[in-house]
C-alpha cells in the first residue's frame, strides 16, 4: 500500500522546482492585498479558492467515510485494501486542506452534501460482490470529478498554498482513479486499461500490472 507521504515524495521527484503559480490577474479578487505588484499576499483567496476548499473537503471526508464503510463491507480483499488506501491518503489530505483553509479563513462544511449522502445510503443497502461493484463505480466517479476540480483550482485560484496543494494532490487522485478503474476491470474480468499495448503493437513487453 502506498501512503500519501510516499506518493508526495514521488511527486516531487518530477515536479517543477521553486517557481510559484502565476494566475490570470483578471480573476483576482478586487480586495486582494499584494505582497509584490501582481502577486497576491499569502492566504488571500478568491471565490474559486473558497469554493474549491469547500468542495474538496466534502469529497475528501466522504472518501474517508465511504472507505470505512468499504473496509467493513467489501467482499473482495483487494477492494478492502483499496478502501484502506483511501482512508489513509484522503485522511492526510483532509488535514492539510483543513489547515490551509483555516489559515485563509475559509469556512468549511461539516456535513456531507446530498450527493454523497445518497451514495452512502445506497451502499449501506448493498452487500457482497454487488457492494464492491457499486463502491468502485462511485469511487471512479468521485475521483473523476475531484481530478477536474483540482485542475480547476490550479489555474483559477489565487491562494498559492491552496494551488500547490491541488498540484500535489492531483497525481495521487489520478492514481487512485486508475486503481479504482483497474480493480473494477479486474472484477469484471477485463484487461486493465493502462498497460494495453500501443496502437502500433511495437516494442516493449509489459509486465502484468501489480495490484497495489
Amino acid at each position: 500500500m502506498r501512503s500519501l507521504a510516499q506518493g508526495l515524495a514521488v511527486a516531487t521527484l518530477f515536479a517543477s522546482p521553486a517557481f510559484a503559480q502565476i494566475g490570470n490577474p483578471a480573476g483576482t479578487e478586487p480586495d486582494t492585498r499584494q505582497s509584490a505588484p501582481g502577486i497576491p499576499a499569502p492566504h488571500q483567496t478568491n471565490a474559486q479558492d473558497q469554493l474549491f476548499a469547500q468542495q474538496a473537503v466534502i469529497g475528501g471526508m466522504a472518501e474517508v467515510a465511504l472507505g470505512k464503510l468499504a473496509d467493513r463491507k467489501a467482499h473482495n480483499r483487494a477492494v478492502a485494501e483499496f478502501a484502506g488506501v483511501m482512508i489513509q491518503d484522503h485522511g492526510k489530505a483532509n488535514e492539510k486542506l483543513a489547515s490551509l483553509a483555516g489559515s485563509a479563513r475559509i469556512p468549511l462544511p461539516n456535513e456531507p452534501d446530498a450527493e454523497h449522502k445518497a451514495v452512502h445510503a445506497r451502499l449501506e443497502r448493498l452487500s457482497g460482490a454487488q457492494f464492491d461493484v457499486a463502491y468502485l463505480e462511485a469511487q471512479v466517479q468521485d475521483h473523476q470529478k475531484t481530478a477536474q476540480l483540482l485542475q480547476w483550482e490550479i489555474n483559477s485560484g489565487q491562494d498559492a498554498q491552496l494551488q500547490r496543494f491541488a498540484s500535489e494532490t492531483l497525481p495521487i487522485v489520478l492514481r487512485h482513479l486508475r486503481m479504482a478503474q483497474d480493480l473494477a476491470s479486474q472484477i469484471a474480468g477485463q484487461t486493465p486499461r493502462e498497460l494495453a499495448p500501443a496502437t502500433t503493437g511495437m516494442g516493449h513487453q509489459d509486465q502484468p500490472r501489480r495490484t497495489r
Partner: protein, 469 residues
C-alpha cells in the same frame, strides 16, 4: 484543528443518520461553471494590465528556466542545410536533455514501466506548457508583430507575455509561397509577408478573383479572445483583431502558439504550435484533435469559436465573424487549397527517393523509414507522408501523469492526427505542441516511443532522409 476533528465526527454522523433514498441523477451537483466556461474579468482593465505587466518578467523567467532545463536552446544549425526559401538554416542536433545517469542507448533498452517508475523520461518529451497557462491565448513571434506594425499599424504585442522560443528554432520568415496552380513560378512571395496592404499587388495576375477574395478575408483582422475591444483583452489598445495569416504566415507557420480548444479545464489545455497550411488540399482531417472533415468547416469554425478557444459564448460577446458559407467560406477554402508543399526534387511520383539524385545516407534513411523504423505505416509516402488518421502513441506509459509544470498539468495526449512530413525541415518546432526542437529530437522520440532500438547511423540516416522530403 480540534474543531476540524469535531467536524469530521459530525460529518460521519451525518452519513449514518441519512436515510434519504434519492435518485443520484437529480442531486449530483455539476462542477463550478467556469470549469468549462470562460469567466469574466473581476476587475477594471487598467488594474489587470498593471498586474499583468508586473508579473511579466517572472512569467518569462519561469518559462526560460523550464525551456533551458529541458532543452539545449543554442543556435546550432545543420551545416549547409537551408529551409526552402534559402533564408534560414535548419536547426540541428538532439536538443532534448537526458536525465542524469542515462544515455539514449540505455534508455532505449529499458521498459516503459522502468522509465516511468524511476522518473527517467527526458523532461523535454513531456507536453510543453504555454508561457502563461492560466491565461493562455494566442502568442505571436516578434518578427510577425514587427512586420504587422510596420505594414498595418496594428498591434499584436501582448502586455502579459512574450513569445518564448528563440528565432533560430522557428521557421524562416517570411516563408516562401508555392502554388499548385503555378508550379513553374516557384516562390511567389517576393520575400514579403502577405498582409491586407500588399496582397493585391503581390498576387494580382497570379490567382483568380475567387482566390483573391478568399485571400482578402484570410488577411482581414477580426476581434477575438486576446485581441479585441473589451476589458477582457491582452493588448494595450483596443484592437481590431487578428487575421488567419498572422499565425499561418504566408500560409506556412511562424510558430505562433495557442491552447487547444478541445479540452477543459484550463490547466489541462495543451499548447498548440501553428500548423503549416501547405498541402492542406490532400488532408482529410483537420486539427490535431478535432478531426474536422473539411477545410471549409475548419475555416468557418476557427472564426466562430474565437480562433481556438472552443468557446462560442465568449466569442459572441467580443464580436464574431460569421462568414457566409457559399460566398466567403468557399473562397477562403479555395485559396488555402492551392498552397503547395515546397518542391522536393529528390522524390518521384510515389514519394520515393530518386536513386540517381539521392545520397547514400538519404537512401539508407529511406530504408529505415520503410523498414526497421516502420515510419511509413503512419506517414504513408504515397499520400504526402500521412495517413489521414489519428493515433495514440501512449507516451504516458513512460511518465507519471498529473504533475504540474508552470501551472500546466501533464496528462496523456490521447489520439493525435499524423502530421505530414513533406517539407518538414521548414517547420520547427515539432509535434502538435512544439515540444521537440529538431528532427533529430523526433527520431529519438519515436525510437523510444515505438521501441525501435535504432543504431546511431540509422538515426542519422533518418534525419538526412527527412531533410530531403
Amino acid at each position: 484543528m480540534s474543531q476540524f476533528l469535531k467536524a469530521i465526527g459530525l460529518f460521519a454522523a451525518a452519513f449514518v443518520s441519512s436515510v434519504a433514498v434519492l435518485s443520484l441523477a437529480a442531486i449530483s451537483d455539476p462542477l463550478p461553471p467556469d470549469t468549462t466556461y470562460r469567466p469574466l474579468p473581476t476587475r477594471p482593465f487598467s488594474a489587470v494590465k498593471a498586474d499583468d505587466e508586473a508579473q511579466k518578467q517572472q512569467v518569462m523567467q519561469r518559462q526560460a528556466s523550464l525551456l533551458n532545463r529541458r532543452y539545449d536552446m543554442s543556435d546550432r544549425p545543420i551545416a549547409g542545410v537551408m529551409m526552402s526559401g534559402g533564408r534560414k538554416a535548419v536547426p540541428g542536433g538532439v536538443r532534448v536533455k537526458l536525465q542524469s545517469g542515462t544515455t539514449w542507448e540505455n534508455l532505449a533498452e529499458m521498459s516503459p514501466d522502468e522509465i516511468r517508475q524511476r522518473s527517467l523520461l527526458p523532461e523535454g518529451f513531456l507536453p510543453l506548457p504555454h508561457v502563461k497557462q492560466a491565461t493562455g491565448g494566442q502568442v505571436i513571434p516578434d518578427r510577425q508583430i514587427d512586420d504587422i506594425r510596420r505594414q498595418e499599424a496594428r498591434d499584436l504585442r501582448r502586455f502579459d507575455v512574450n513569445f518564448d522560443l528563440p528565432d533560430h528554432l522557428t521557421p524562416e520568415f517570411p516563408p516562401p509561397i508555392f502554388l499548385t496552380t503555378q508550379p513553374h513560378l516557384g516562390d511567389v512571395s517576393r520575400g514579403q509577408l502577405l498582409t491586407i496592404k500588399n496582397f493585391y499587388e503581390v498576387m494580382n495576375g497570379i490567382i483568380t478573383p475567387v482566390q483573391m477574395e478568399g485571400l482578402r478575408l484570410l488577411l482581414t483582422p477580426f476581434p477575438q479572445e486576446e485581441f479585441n475591444q473589451t476589458e477582457d483583452r491582452k493588448v494595450a489598445e483596443q484592437s481590431t483583431g487578428i487575421t488567419c495569416l498572422d499565425c499561418h504566415a504566408n500560409f506556412h507557420t511562424n510558430a505562433a502558439f495557442h491552447l487547444t480548444p478541445d479540452v477543459r479545464p484550463q490547466a489541462a489545455r495543451f499548447r498548440l504550435d501553428s500548423t503549416s497550411l501547405r498541402g492542406v488540399f490532400n488532408q482529410q482531417i483537420h486539427g490535431s484533435k478535432r478531426s474536422l472533415r473539411s477545410i471549409e468547416d475548419f475555416t468557418e469554425f476557427e472564426q466562430r469559436t474565437a480562433y481556438f478557444n472552443g468557446d462560442h459564448v465568449s466569442a459572441t460577446r467580443k464580436g464574431v465573424h460569421l462568414p457566409d458559407r457559399t460566398n466567403q467560406v468557399a473562397m477562403m477554402a479555395q485559396m488555402q487549397n492551392i498552397i503547395d508543399f515546397p518542391p522536393a526534387p529528390k522524390l518521384d511520383a510515389f514519394g520515393r527517393l530518386d536513386r540517381a539524385r539521392a545520397t547514400e545516407q538519404e537512401l539508407a534513411g529511406e530504408q529505415v523509414f520503410f523498414g526497421k523504423g516502420r515510419c511509413n505505416e503512419c506517414h504513408v509516402a504515397q499520400t504526402s507522408f500521412m495517413d489521414n488518421n489519428m493515433h495514440d502513441l501512449k507516451l504516458e506509459r513512460f511518465y507519471q501523469v498529473g504533475h504540474t509544470f508552470n501551472d500546466f498539468v501533464t496528462l496523456p495526449d490521447g489520439p493525435i492526427k499524423t502530421f505530414t512530413l513533406r517539407g518538414i525541415k521548414d517547420s520547427p518546432p515539432y509535434l502538435h505542441d512544439g515540444r521537440l526542437m529538431t528532427l533529430a529530437d523526433t527520431v529519438e522520440f519515436f525510437n523510444l516511443v515505438l521501441g525501435l532500438r535504432l543504431t546511431q547511423p540509422e538515426k542519422e540516416a533518418l534525419v538526412a532522409y527527412m531533410l530531403a522530403l
